[in-house]
């Protein structure tokens, strides 16, 4: 996969990001990570909220690379594919994992309740915290002007 190919398919568009835009996404991620850890929230909502933080973390890496994902069907799958492309092998297994979580999150949001288990929601939250740190580390190394 390459940016040219993603761009050629219309999956991503060129995009010039800013520290302000990234800080806005950081605030959104912080909110979702805090909400996903709330006691009393259902496992489904914890899962879906943590998932959104993963999606937004991926979006940060894509924005730093000079792109944004086109708003159309399948854009979540493209986000994880493009995040893997931006960050490289360090993100590969996490991108596969988040893509599997995407399918579960679709069922949670549109079809059924009691889809995610507490075990899965807790695991996802831990993985997303790790992924967000990975993205921040990658930004600090490759795009120091955008560091938090």
């Amino acid at each position: 996969m390459s940016w040219q190919r993603l761009s050629g398919r219309g999956d991503v568009k060129p995009h010039l990001t800013s520290k302000q835009e990234l800080d806005n996404i950081r605030a959104l991620i912080a909110r979702d990570l805090a909400d996903a850890a709330l006691t009393g929230l259902s496992a489904d909502r914890k899962f879906a909220t943590a998932y959104n933080a993963a999606l937004q973390s991926g979006k940060m890496a894509i924005a730093c690379s000079g792109y944004r994902v086109s708003a159309r069907a399948g854009h979540h799958a493209v986000t994880f594919e493009a995040a893997r492309l931006a960050i490289g092998s360090a993100a590969s297994s996490l991108a596969d994992y988040f893509d599997a979580c995407r399918l579960k999150r679709n069922v949670i949001d549109y079809n059924n309740s009691s889809v995610a288990t507490e075990t899965e929601a807790e695991e996802l939250l831990g993985k997303v915290v790790g992924f967000h740190e990975l993205v921040e580390g990658w930004i600090a190394t490759n795009y120091p002007a955008f560091t938090r």
Partner: protein, 201 residues
Amino acid sequence: MRKSPIVDALFPEIRGKILAATLTRPEKRWYLSELSAFLHTQPSSLQREIQSLSKAGILEQARDGRRVYIAPDTRSPVFLDLKGLFDKTAGLVPVLTQALEPFGDRIRVAFLYGSVARSQEGSESDIDLLIVGKVGLADLVPALRSAERTLGRPIAPSVFSAEEFARKACGGDHFVNTVLRGENRFVKGSENELAAIVGEG
């Protein structure tokens, strides 16, 4: 594409693959191009075997417009016997057992539930798989993706720690209790092991 040493020993390669693909999903109607893509081979290399299996009444071919589809002939006197053989050697349970084997004792129980466990699924139904143990979805994803490619169908896993499963079983959780009351097909462990986990709650 399903592989089994027993099937490999009993049947020539292409014939075994055709029988495994069709008999483990008897409700599915395969077009030749679809079956050849699934088996990673050319349509021309399947045709002779399909003709032979159709002539023996094991497969049936029917025309749908300009295309011909292939399915097991469920009226064959040996259909159930052959299906049983392929379910045991190349069906969902053996494929999933192989996929989960590397996790060893980290998985206490794994079983199919829902329409797949009742053998009432449609040809494209998700495979609902419940796993109880000390294993995470992140660890399972590569193995399950590989099994999905083999089976040609999506797997929908639900992963529980033993503690969460027991607590929900004893606490009247709707999903867990529906699963426990329903028909399950074990990939790892047994009813006894499942009962032991519930007893820990």
